[in-house]
Symmetry: C2
Subunit: 429 residues, 2 copies
Amino acid sequence: MDIKALIQRRERLLGTQMPLFYEEPIHIIRGEGVNLFDADGKQYVDMYNNVPCVGHANPRVVNAMQTQAATLNVHSRYLHEGILDYAERLLGLHAESLSRAVFCCTGTEASEIALRMARAATGGRGIICTDATYHGNSTEVVRLSAASRDPEGNPEIRAIPYPQQYRSLDSNASEAELCALYLANVRAAIDDLAANNIPLAGMMVCSLMVNEGLPDIPAGFMAGAAEMVRVAGGVFIADEVQAGFCRSGRWWGYEESDFVPDIAIMGKPMGAGLPLAGVVARDELVDAFRKKTRYFNTFASSPLQAAVGMAVLDVIEDDDVRSNVNSVGNYLRAALDQLQTDYEPMGDVRSHGLSIAIDWVTDRESKAPDTEGVNRVINRLKEKGFLMGSGGSLRNALKIRPPLIFSRENADAFLTAFRETLQEFYGSA
Amino acid sequence: MDIKALIQRRERLLGTQMPLFYEEPIHIIRGEGVNLFDADGKQYVDMYNNVPCVGHANPRVVNAMQTQAATLNVHSRYLHEGILDYAERLLGLHAESLSRAVFCCTGTEASEIALRMARAATGGRGIICTDATYHGNSTEVVRLSAASRDPEGNPEIRAIPYPQQYRSLDSNASEAELCALYLANVRAAIDDLAANNIPLAGMMVCSLMVNEGLPDIPAGFMAGAAEMVRVAGGVFIADEVQAGFCRSGRWWGYEESDFVPDIAIMGKPMGAGLPLAGVVARDELVDAFRKKTRYFNTFASSPLQAAVGMAVLDVIEDDDVRSNVNSVGNYLRAALDQLQTDYEPMGDVRSHGLSIAIDWVTDRESKAPDTEGVNRVINRLKEKGFLMGSGGSLRNALKIRPPLIFSRENADAFLTAFRETLQEFYGSA
């Protein structure tokens, strides 16, 4: 297969500048478990994809999809028990106060629902987010990503510096002092909205701040921010699209970050590849949203979404996937911490379960981000058969987030290849 | 099965005021072809659902879904031929100028892409739509529906009276005069945006104005409006979510309404129930969009979307579904025209292929909309085993839009039940 010809055909049909991974993109034709296979039969261990959380082509998920599609798949203005059973089970996994669900198809749609819900319920308009966030690609939701670059163009949004400990606002501050510093920015955003006569609707953050680069959030920040926002009349929205469904070793990122949101957004792993996303929230918030918007989504709350979503939960629980995330996550983290002592470019290793970020730097002193270095490592590991990506606010974090069934053997194979790569590029430890 | 208990459970889990059909909602558990079956085994002929265009649980579609899901389903930042083959085939069915595709998951997302594309390519902000439209449920897209009620709250949107012949702006005008009258409203909207220093981005309309009530659009309106918009620097966006995929008897509603758009939006029937939607447009529009937005959609352009979308096209072409739409559509229309001569409440019968609207009125003279009457008919036909809905700008149109495989035998069965219902409610002809 001629990769260049394939890229040209792609540009002709789908347009130029459609995102594509790797210096030499790969042509994947099959997936199974944690493995992907290219057109030449080369096998890759997938350490990038969080959507196929229970493994590529999981037979139970595929079977549930096939069985339901062959039986019934229709919109939600008829009664059907499937979506009720699914909603009940999903809500049962959440904090008790999150008691009603709204389903949709993508994380972007879930973010749209959350924003509309916050505004419908509070009557406010102002939204607080972080300065390195991404919650989706609609006109309204991209405002959150754009607000830090263009505050005047997004007058209802306030972007605060995301809380972190590695490149913090004050390198001499204790964790508690840092928490107070970052909370002061939330306070300032609330006050600035008020000063501009923009009533607060809420604050929206990824529970683990994955796009920001999975920072070590100072303890107490999330609960403190949520409290501040509520006192000011807003609601606190947790984006669980990347943080949820056991990624952190707990069911939800907000458990890992020790707070309870008013609204939680879910997506990516929820349907293991079937477009399935949703929002859970407190009763009165969902009711205010439905009353105000009469929200209806043709493809959502369907028997197909319910059956597939349920199969994903079945596999996670029956196969005790959460224990695997904790044990393999801890194992991998310990090995990476060990490697970090030998390799200067691994400036900071941060993780929650099987979501890991390694902050790649030119040197430990300056902490200058080394995007070129991390990309060299990513492309070399791809050659060696391990797929991962980069991310974070400075684009210099090695982003590791394999399917949740990633095993200790997979981790060992990766660690061997990673050590080899570090040796090739940076010399023996 | 206790319907009331099911409704209560639904309200508890999904919130109150989630849309539900019929005075006595139905509990559907299985679908096959044009038929749906409830929990008591009662069979219904589905004359409402346009999503399962090739029939409920179509075996070829289900098989394509199962086979691909068992093989690979991953995001689009790796190369895959499936989505390229599908894009090429889909683009081949469109006007030659629509040469590149962007895929997403829902009609709302497709509308978002079209709006962002129009604005990215033109640098404009202003959008013209009709005063009875619905293009989706995101914050930005609902502005189009809200603009006629709240023009000041939506300063970049101009809603024009939708063109029609039944309750037209001037009942004495000829069709050509009506066309000129309605085009004058487009002109006025363009001028008003310019007077307010809002550069035009474009105009967005359903090619058959289905939500407006499937009006008989004065000939020449759509092409005339498109020309006006282009001269003013905007692009013309055709919403094919309901109008496309042979619903009208032609592949696209814009062919039926005799114009070529710059951007076309697709959804609903595209994946026969799998969330699959998309946009096709001229090269430079897609490229401007991709360059400006770096659009990426986790679940879209996937091997699964491609396989299912392709299977839908296969069935439509192999089973000559388009011919069926034309022959059954014409047959049904002729019978309804005949019935109209006997029944006063059938104020106006309008159709394109298997999209039919019967404008229900209290009397022919006043043309006063009879929403109660149409709902009584819909609920009675449901009891007799035929599912349809109401719609249109006045909510008084009987909306008929069965799966495209709806047969002449299905039509005869419906016509018998419909005649019976008319006799019951309005006496013998």
